[in-house]
């Protein structure tokens, strides 16, 4: 099996792994507030996935077949892009909440 094809997904996995201590060592409490997490992410995911689908169809960007699985969701959306729009905002919220705890401010 060609590991290179999983490079994009591996990068996303590393992002989740590296931010996990923010939840459990810094007390970010993002993963432990799943309802609020879904509520916060639903609209941005919908908007930016739509943007991505349009951008791909209008040839704004494309993906190197060497580093992606080739697995596509409806509307020709690469599985990696869907993963991106879920993983990266979670990383940002973990950062926000960890900073909030450390600074002890709102």
């Amino acid at each position: 099996m060609d590991v290179d094809r999983f490079q994009y997904l591996i990068v996303m996995g590393l992002c989740l792994l590296i931010t996990l201590p923010l939840e459990f060592l810094f007390g970010a409490r993002v993963w432990r507030r799943p309802r609020r997490l879904v509520a916060a992410m639903a609209i941005p995911v919908a908007i930016f996935v739509t943007w991505d689908i349009i951008a791909i169809s209008r040839d704004h960007w494309d993906f190197n077949p060497r580093y992606v699985t080739g697995w596509r969701l409806p509307f020709n959306l690469p599985v990696e892009e869907m993963t991106f729009f879920i993983v990266i905002p979670i990383c940002a919220l973990l950062t926000l909440e960890a900073v909030r705890r450390v600074l002890d401010r709102d």
């Binding site: 994009y8 992002c15 609020r36 960007w61 494309d62 729009f85 940002a92 900073v99 450390v102 002890d104």
Partner: protein
């Protein structure tokens, strides 16, 4: 230049949504700017890896962007795209806090990570 314009417009809309509608006050908080400094550092690392021209994962059509890449090979539009995506998520995260009082309560009972004396 469609990506360039779309990314600028997205940022203006997100800032407008906060100032005119959500009014969470996040832009007035130090937490927001410290968080963004940290996010920006990691964004450069991750996006730098995704966009490096020596072995790119994402390929950009230079006709639809400014062609300006910094640092390394990161298209500058990606920062605007990232700002709009992540700031909107943070704003809504804070916005929905009011709907989830149990979350706020759990934070109060656990207390700050570093206790002030």
């Amino acid at each position: 230049m469609e990506y360039t314009w779309a990314s600028v417009v997205a940022c203006v809309i997100v800032i407008g949504v906060e100032l005119l509608w959500l009014k969470t006050g996040l832009f007035k908080k130090l937490t927001f700017y410290v968080s963004w400094a940290i996010i920006l550092f990691f964004m450069v690392l991750v996006d730098g890896w995704l966009t490096k021209l020596s072995a790119p994962i994402v390929l950009y059509n230079e006709e639809e962007s400014s062609g300006i890449r910094f640092p390394w090979d990161i298209p500058v539009e990606d920062y605007l795209f990232g700002f709009a995506l992540l700031t909107l998520t943070m704003l809504l995260w804070d916005h929905w806090a009011q709907r989830h009082p149990d979350d706020a309560a759990s934070r109060r009972t656990t207390g700050p990570l570093i206790r002030r004396r």
